[in-house]
């Protein structure tokens, strides 16, 4: 297992696997979008607006899935101190924030025609908003600490604090919401969703998961390369050969 966690091996693996994963993502997205618009029926109550669900729900699923990926990587960082875990963790944060953002905005765009307002302080929306804020905090932490290893461990600690805290936040927001009894809010049908809608949703969820995998693999590769660049820069500066590097740079500029 450790062989696969070696950064060099990982780069080779990504080079081999990425085209397939990306291809599968495109295929699934194409099928999913086709099903969304041509196979799935319009809802008898909501009409065609229900089609927003096929991106809103997968995005919501990914916002949680991405956090779980980050938490698993955080364990790898803290327990095994593995550089690959650092890279995976750092790469996941902006992608997770992007999908959470998509979830919020599509929810808002779905809510306007259905509920009549852009935003309601509904328990689910509010929890996702807090999750988005936590993502932003993590990204800010990553960007503030310069030394990569130290930044990774700090972010890992914060991620794991979030793992403990997010269920508590979810619970308290639910409690707060029932206390304040919002205006009648449309509720999704839960498990009674019809198969003709369930299938497109499943395909889209799978497509989004593959999309996340593609983006995450690419971003993790970037983080590994960034560390190499960082190390080489330090090496060049440390061994007094920065003049050579500088000359090279000047050469390039000329």
């Amino acid at each position: 297992m450790w062989k696969y966690a070696n950064p060099t091996f990982f780069l080779a693996l990504v080079a081999r696997v990425l085209p397939w994963v990306a291809g599968l993502t495109v295929l699934l997205l194409a099928v999913g979008l086709y099903m969304t618009f041509f196979v799935a029926p319009a809802d008898y109550q909501q009409g065609d607006t229900v089609r927003i669900m096929y991106i809103h729900v997968p995005a919501a699923w990914l916002s949680v899935f991405c956090y779980m990926t980050m938490a698993a990587s955080a364990l790898g960082t803290l327990v095994w101190r593995h550089p690959l875990a650092d890279a995976a963790q750092k790469a996941a944060a902006p992608i997770g924030a992007a999908f959470t953002f998509i979830c919020l905005v599509t929810g808002s765009l779905w809510g306007k025609p259905m509920w009549g307002t852009w935003w309601v302080w509904d328990a689910r929306l509010t929890s996702v908003l807090v999750l988005f804020l936590i993502y932003l905090g993590l990204i800010a932490l990553w960007q503030t600490i310069e030394e990569p290893g130290r930044a990774a461990r700090a972010a890992a600690i914060l991620t794991l604090i979030g793992v403990v805290n997010i269920p508590i936040i979810k619970f308290s927001v639910d409690w707060w919401n029932t206390l304040h009894q919002p205006a009648s809010v449309f509720r999704m049908g839960g498990p009674t969703i019809h198969p003709t809608m369930l299938w497109p949703l499943m395909v889209m969820a799978l497509a989004f998961t593959m999309l996340f995998l593609t983006l995450h693999l690419m971003a993790t590769r970037n983080e590994i390369l960034r560390r190499r660049v960082h190390r080489l820069t330090m090496l060049a500066a440390g061994s007094g050969e920065s003049d050579v590097a500088g000359a090279r740079f000047a050469d390039q500029e000329a």
Partner: protein, 53 residues
């Protein structure tokens, strides 16, 4: 299709965000590759037979 604007807006915005993330990753990748190519000769120049500059 009723509310077509909202549906179009959500799909379009999702596409834009994903495309933006993808583009930023690709641009970042290219920049890092360039940087590595610039730095690597300095690193491997320990072998004496390699010509300078």
């Amino acid at each position: 299709m009723e509310h077509a604007g909202f549906i179009l807006a959500s799909f379009g915005l999702t596409f834009l965000v994903v495309a933006g993330v993808l583009a930023s990753i690709v641009i970042d990748h290219r920049a890092l590759k360039r940087e590595l190519a610039r730095l690597s000769p300095v690193d491997t120049r320990v072998s004496p037979d390699q010509p300078r500059s």
